[in-house]
Amino acid sequence: MEFEPLDDFEEKLKRSFERWPAPPELKRRLMENRRRRKERPRWFALPREVLVAVSLSLGVGVFAALYSGIASYQHEQQREGEAARQQVLTALRITDHALDNINKQLAAHGRASQE
């Protein structure tokens, strides 16, 4: 395919495909957007090192909060388990004491019948 010189049809295309004039408001809107963008606080434009440090601190903070939450939950579970165990032991001691009393009464009753 030859690109030079252009034939008649290509010349017509060239003439037809001239640049369109940009709309008059394009530049005004653009400069307005540009001004607004420059006025906006740009925290994301902080140095990369600062953003990395902030992200890492946030990550560590979240991890620490999760870890302490889990540890506290486990501690609470252990405490509740221990309390339940103590209650069972107390109940067993009471039962043991009651049975002991009944045994003593039965023995006393047996001795009285023999006499």
């Binding site: 395919m1 017509k12 037809s16 495909f17 940009a22 653009l30 957007n33 540009r34 963008r37």
Partner: protein, 178 residues
């Protein structure tokens, strides 16, 4: 690398807004969308202004980004399945006839019916008068592919023009009562 060129954003906008807008308009066929694309391109350009090494570099960058943003916008719109030029005339009140000759307007309409890669190559070739090598660089495509798009696009456009422009001439003659 240090460079001496001191770009002036406003001056560069004045110089290149017509190019960026025309590329976007010919690629998308939608005046509103073309304006949006031009805005995005120039705002991105402003962010990268410090990296521009020369006027040529700036022009090359603007052309490349205008084309890629237009192609992205077209692909996002493809799902809608609307006819670009019908939409353009119906909703945006743009008439290709307003600036170019009626023949030129027909050619613009025919260009809009070409597949997007062929249209991109032809717009850069005939609007921007770029060589195939420059088009390949602007579209970030292999040279052989660009040459093929140019060849096929031109052939298709010629064929369509042969049919439609005959009808067009016949219509004009009927209107004139020839």
């Amino acid at each position: 690398m240090a460079h001496d060129w001191q770009p002036d954003f406003e001056q560069l906008v004045d110089e290149h807004q017509s190019m960026v807008f025309s590329l976007a308009l010919r690629m998308t066929g939608d005046r509103g969308l073309a304006e949006e694309i031009a805005q995005d391109v120039f705002l991105e350009f402003d962010r990268r202004l410090g990296k521009m090494e020369s006027a040529d570099h700036a022009r090359f960058w603007l052309r490349r980004v205008a084309m890629s943003r237009s192609v992205d916008a077209l692909r996002r719109r493809q799902t809608r399945g609307t006819d670009r030029w019908v939409e353009m005339e119906d909703h945006h009140g743009i008439h290709a006839e307003e600036r170019t000759s009626p023949l030129g307007a027909r050619l613009e309409q025919l260009l809009a019916t070409l597949p997007e890669p062929q249209r991109a190559a032809l717009v850069l070739r005939y609007q921007e008068e770029l060589t195939p090598e420059e088009i390949a660089a602007a579209l970030e495509a292999p040279l052989a592919t660009v040459k093929s798009h140019l060849q096929r696009g031109l052939k298709l456009l010629r064929a369509k023009a042969a049919i439609h422009l005959k009808e067009f001439v016949r219509e004009k003659e009927c209107v004139r009562g020839v």
